[in-house]
Point group: C2
Chain length 318, copies 2
């Protein structure tokens, strides 16, 4: 097996070109970077075999790609620009060089798409495949969950529910000839952290979160952190998620509303800001009210209870 550093270097084929902040790259005890003038944003996210993914439905490239995007999405959720990432991999026994190459190819693809270069990491042996990604960003004024105010409008950037529909199609082994199902599977396999859209909010006062666990649940985080009541209009959410979700839901025999409100891993962005100014790339899906912190979902104008939140489809987190 190649050395740890050889593998880490494979993560970063053209490091100098892709990370203008880099002072010291892979090969020393740590990476070193030019300090940003703006506040630093720092996050870590882990994807563990059997909990966040199974190799039955995801290729190793998918696993590398998706785990990286999940971490990058936390930068988007703070309205931060990407600076650099670290990758900590735990590889099961008998994991081959070729398999590692596939995993790394997925990470590299995601890193290139987001502009978040991998500048270091760690490689260990262990029982289950696990990918832990540290993402470092910078932002003049990080956007928080706690900034929603009564009177604000709720804004959504990106469709929701597609990734959950795609995951269900994969778990059931459904053929994905139908374009709608194929689009949903693609949404699950190749989500895009909405870093560019998040950056547009860095100068707009707002509350911001990424939709990783499900829209209703993530809206609940804003409600709780801000001490407000969020009214979500499921019909407007469904309109934003388009015809693919409608068609895929029909093929799956699932309620599109449940998929859109409780399905995670689309990495849409949910913002709460002034009702007067629509942030570019966002559509209105509800409003913020004073009251007992929580989320009310309206469907056809009447309160509606979405499912408690799908899990990741392969296990559960604490």
């Amino acid at each position: 097996m190649k050395s740890e550093h050889a593998w880490l270097r494979a993560l970063a084929p053209s490091l100098g070109a892709s990370c203008p902040s880099l002072l010291v790259g892979i090969g020393d005890d740590a990476a070193a970077l030019v300090p940003p003038t703006d506040p630093i944003v720092l996050t870590v996210d882990a994807a563990v075999e059997g909990v966040h993914f199974t190799r039955q439905i995801a290729s190793l490239e998918d696993i590398g790609y998706r785990s990286f995007m999940a971490a990058a999405s936390d930068l988007a959720a703070m309205a931060a620009r990407p600076v650099a990432a670290l990758s900590s991999l735990t590889l099961p026994p008998r994991f081959t060089e070729q398999e590692l190459e596939q995993l790394v190819a997925g990470q590299r693809l995601a890193a290139a798409l987001i502009g978040l270069p991998i500048v270091g990491g760690n490689l260990s042996r262990g029982g289950l495949l696990s990918v832990s990604t540290t993402a470092l960003g910078a932002c003049p004024s990080p956007r928080l969950r706690s900034s929603a105010r009564p009177g604000d409008r709720l804004w959504l950037a990106g469709p929701v529910g597609l990734a959950a529909a795609g995951l269900r199609a994969l778990l059931r082994g459904l053929p994905t000839h139908a374009p709608a199902l194929r689009a949903c599977v693609e949404a699950w396999r190749r989500p895009l952290a909405r870093v560019e859209i998040g950056l547009r909010l860095s100068s707009l006062p707002c509350a911001l979160i990424d939709v990783s666990d499900g829209l209703a649940q993530d809206a609940g985080h804003i409600a709780l952190a801000s001490g407000v009541r969020l009214i979500l209009d499921a019909d407007q959410v469904l309109k934003e998620s388009g015809s693919s979700l409608q068609e895929a839901s029909a093929l799956l025999g699932e309620d599109p509303g449940a998929l859109a409100l409780a399905g995670g891993e689309d990495y849409a962005l949910l913002a709460a800001s002034s009702a007067e100014l629509a942030p570019l790339g966002f559509v209105p899906i509800g409003q913020v009210e004073a009251g007992e912190p929580g989320v009310v979902v309206l469907r056809g104008g009447a309160p509606w209870e979405p499912p408690a939140g799908f899990d990741h489809g392969e296990g559960s987190e604490p």
Copy 2:
């Protein structure tokens, strides 16, 4: 089970007081920090059950403590001052709240000793216990492995071999009444990343590395990165490691030279710098020469081949 955020908060009981750089702490999508004016140093290290530790010989508090120190030591090895850390935990099934509390207590203790506050993290379920620690530091001029020059002297800060001796005592289930063995077990259970000593080198031109895998092996990293030949004097190294290592080696029936040169996880610091100026806290243990990159160990004045490097005692890394 408590929520992820409740647990992460338990990692950081008095966050505001302990992290002067903190702008946004646990509870949002990411942590936010005042940017340092000096270059950023960033590293990640993972400790995985069955590879880096077993619960037969280490308490959960030990595991939390040691994994954190291993990451912090990479900051010391760059001569960086600690800024903030993230902790990504994967917990096996049936891992209890009480067990998590013990693990977290060890992390918290290490974080307090080093002054490296935990400002965020991630909690997942998974097959094996695993602790991945991201450490962020800052340094006006990060010290590299590649800066050793022919004519430099080699300097060591801290004893080596004690942790390896302690690990062997634990693995063999030896009683640790003897003060020397007890000191070695303590060196393994409660190593201290030499951050303060590393900081003294931030204004001294030098090559620097921490001794995590074994002195001869880590010296090899400097030799290779700098393109130089390192001459290590095992007798001087043994003098620095003191009588505890001699006595413990006798009780273990091991060669103290082998433990000192090939035993890891003491987190001593190895520097190469001008022969004229002894850096504070370091003792001379050899010199740097031009020639084929590599390490020559002298013992009793003659070349001596230390063992290829002990593994961690519980498995192997790739």
